[in-house]
């Protein structure tokens, strides 16, 4: 006989869903702030990878007849250095920053398409890992980051060059950039729609923070420039695998078609890498000068002008290929024209700090460093627009000097300004100021020691991308100096990593508004709640948070915007 016993059942404990665990929250998130942070951490990881590749290059070139790398590995390393820094560091870093900051700045609760946003991030991560995994298969891309045909078609039937065996190295590159392109398109249209449709009441286009403006222009550039790269690398893959003849001169194809297509992506791309930096500097300088930006309209619309002009200058990368004289004159003119809106910005920044109450905190130092370094990169860039001069130094280290002043002295300095500026918002902790200052000075010295001698080496005739050089060419001392500089930069990055880890754990609490800033992102908790704003703010001027803190002298009372 069965006695029925009442079994005491344990109270039902609901199993935590995966999306509720700490890791699950990150892996499944569609919150723009979490996605932004994931973008930035991923980008920084690839920055370290690309940086190690740079150190390998500089170690190989430190002394003449270097034997650190073999020639094939050297080709792979410099190709992956460029590809990584551009596609996997600077672009995702700016996408991440924009992701975090733009919705907060315009008073929105999230991006317009949160799931598309997450999709874009995961494509970057796996696209990046896909590209880097080529090292594991001993098949890293090896034709330079701009992958010129016909070099990329070596081994394809009917194309004669060395090595004549087909390899999959450039397939990794072409597929990798196609993947990353998908992600960038997703991100860019998300930014455009967010900025057009989700602004808080009163946040008119002409009141948007300049970082938002520059993100908008950058997104349009991505939408309209990336298709050229997609077409170019699609045709490359067809040539390599389907037997078409687009870039094969032997079959009436034209290797120059690659250059035209690639650079009609590649030059807007240069501005994709620098316009967000302009935006960052236009946010940081006013706050640390205690003044509104000088000439807001000019800063904003010169950005738009740069965006338009950037589509008209691509062939200045091709002066040495034998373009018609008329074409050379056109592209030299358009290239010098683009210096005008860029210079407008420099003067605006100078006028912004002129007469201000400057405080030289780390973000300000990096922003000022940006202005100085970018100015050098801009000036030697204008020099390269002069066709006869370009003939002399094209494909020499002078070009390397130019692009690194723009991209390292420019983009990277602005990225560190942004990290030091917004880190308190993202984490609630301040980065250590003293370590920040040490890092800044190390970087400023390192950048100039590394990249300035490249001008001279270029003029002395040292070509870019050479694996090694003979000892009697007069290049020895400067090369060694550059290598020393590269390791100074590496030291600066180590200081930053140490600062990052220690400040994250025991940094000074930041509060919601550590810099007494002007824009809406500081009118939230640090870090902000998932919904950003409890009530959507109403905007009445270009400095809404300044207005709120200073109701007596609010911008909309004293100035007409």
């Amino acid at each position: 006989m069965a006695t029925s016993t009442i079994v005491e059942r344990p109270a039902l404990v609901r199993q935590k869903r995966f999306s509720e665990t700490y890791i699950g929250q990150w892996l499944t998130t569609t919150d723009h702030k979490k996605i932004g942070i994931m973008y930035m951490v991923t980008a920084f990881f690839f920055f370290v990878v690309g940086g190690l590749e740079a150190l390998l290059i500089r170690t190989q070139l430190a002394l003449p007849d270097g034997k650190v790398l073999d020639p094939q590995t050297y080709n792979e390393i410099f190709t992956m250095h460029g590809t990584t820094m551009i596609f996997l560091f600077v672009m995702p870093m700016f996408t991440g920053l924009g992701n975090y900051v733009v919705p907060l700045m315009i008073g929105a609760r999230d991006m317009a398409f949160p799931r598309l946003n997450a999709f874009g991030y995961w494509i970057v991560l796996f696209g990046g890992l896909f590209l880097q995994s080529s090292f594991v298969f001993h098949a890293a891309p090896d034709s330079g980051w701009f992958a010129y045909a016909p070099l990329t078609e070596c081994g394809v039937q009917g194309v004669n060059c060395i090595p004549a065996t087909p390899s999959i190295n450039m397939d990794f590159w072409a597929l990798g950039v196609l993947l990353l392109g998908i992600s960038s398109i997703a991100g860019a249209l998300n930014f455009v729609v967010t900025i057009f449709k989700l602004r808080a009441p009163g946040m008119t286009i002409n009141r948007m923070p300049l970082f938002v403006w520059m993100t908008l222009v950058t997104s349009f550039l991505l939408l309209f420039a990336l298709p050229s790269l997609t077409a170019a690398s699609g045709l490359l893959l067809l040539d390599r695998h389907l037997g078409t003849h687009f870039y094969q001169a032997a079959f009436n194809g034209d290797p120059l078609l690659w250059q035209h297509l690639f650079w009609s992506f590649g030059h807007p791309e240069v501005y994709i890498l620098i316009l967000p930096a302009f935006g960052i500097v236009s946010e940081v300088l006013p706050v640390f000068s205690r003044k509104p930006i000088f000439g807001y309209t000019f800063v904003a619309w010169s950005g738009v002008a740069i965006g338009f002009l950037s589509f008209t200058v691509w062939a200045h990368h091709m002066f040495a290929v034998g373009l018609p004289v008329v074409a050379q004159a056109f592209f030299a003119t358009s290239t010098t024209l683009i210096a005008i809106p860029t210079a407008v910005k420099i003067f605006n920044w100078l006028a912004t700090i002129y007469g201000g109450k400057l405080s030289f905190k780390t973000p300000m130092l990096f922003a000022l460093g940006f202005v100085a370094m970018f100015l050098i990169g801009g000036l030697n860039g204008v020099a390269l627009a002069i066709v006869p001069f370009d003939y002399q130094v094209t494909d020499s280290y002078f070009v390397i000097a130019h692009l690194h002043y723009v991209l390292f002295g420019g983009a990277v300095f602005a990225i560190f300004a942004a990290i030091f500026y917004w880190f308190p918002k993202m984490t609630g902790k301040l980065l250590n100021e003293r370590l920040g200052q040490i890092q800044f000075w190390l970087m400023l010295i390192g950048v100039n020691v590394t990249f300035f001698p490249m001008h001279i080496l270029g003029l002395l005739g040292m070509p870019r991308r050479i694996y090694t050089y003979a000892p009697d060419l007069g290049w020895n001392e400067l090369n060694l100096l550059e290598t020393v500089g590269a390791f100074i930069i590496a030291a600066a990055i180590l200081v930053f990593l140490f600062n990052f880890v220690t400040s994250l754990r025991q940094g000074q609490p930041a509060g919601s508004d550590p810099w007494d800033a002007f824009t809406l992102e500081w009118d939230t908790a640090s870090p902000p709640e998932p919904y950003n704003f409890k009530t959507i703010p109403v905007v009445r001027s270009r400095r809404p948070f300044y207005d709120k803190k200073n109701p007596e002298t609010a911008d909309w009372k004293v100035a007409v915007h």
Binding site: A108, D110, A112, R199, F224, G234, L242, F251, L257
Partner: protein, 205 residues
């Protein structure tokens, strides 16, 4: 978002929707704009290579009548999805939505079948992507369009199955709207591809 609801904070759309086109419409529009530029680049490459080869015009070994009929079918397929399906669902008619979609899908499939037939007859005449530069350019440009037709058809088939399951209402049918936008784009871009590939050589005589 759930957090926002719990604390009584209005959701995204409620705060920001100030009328005008929906967020999804704009997103789709910029996506299409970017796609269109891939076509623009391929067309530019096509013309560049043609001109570099002497500019005598690339002429297909086949007659134009077949692709012309195909073009009429493809352009015509934009009518039922707009005038029957879209106008129907705006009035809440499921029946018109389903029949309009079906008509467009059938016409799109006929176009695709026609393209396959055209390809096979060209290839049997020895005109292939590998045979000459013109072949490379022709099959790439029209093939890329064919790929878009295929993607559009898959898009519309998914929307069709959802329509059969009654997923769309008078107020909520964005997936359908996006599919329609994409289909119109695929049609419109064919006008350019057809003009460049088939009509331009005729002009040159």
């Amino acid at each position: 978002m759930s957090v926002a609801y719990r604390e009584g904070i209005p959701a995204l759309e409620q705060v920001h929707d100030e009328g005008g086109r929906s967020v999804g419409w704009w997103g789709m529009m910029f996506f299409i704009a970017s796609e269109a530029l891939i076509f623009a680049n391929l067309i530019a490459a096509y013309l560049y290579l043609e001109i570099r080869q002497g500019g005598h015009g690339w002429r297909l070994p086949s007659e134009i009548w077949y692709p012309l009929i195909n073009t009429v079918i493809l352009l015509g397929s934009s009518a039922p999805i707009h005038y029957i399906a879209a106008k129907g669902i705006e009035k809440g008619s499921q029946r018109r939505l389903i029949w309009g979609l079906l008509a467009t899908i059938v016409m799109g499939a006929i176009f695709l079948g026609g393209q396959v037939y055209e390809y096979s007859s060209l290839i049997s005449e020895g005109f292939t992507p590998q045979s000459q530069l013109f072949g490379s350019a022709f099959f790439t440009l029209t093939g890329f369009h064919g790929l878009h037709v295929t993607v559009g058809l898959i898009f519309l088939l998914i929307v069709f199955v959802r329509a059969l399951n009654g997923h769309f209402t008078k107020e909520r049918h964005f997936a359908f709207q996006a599919g329609e936008m994409y289909w119109h784009f695929v049609d419109a871009v064919w006008v350019f591809v057809f003009s460049i590939v088939y009509l331009l050589p005729l002009l040159r005589g």
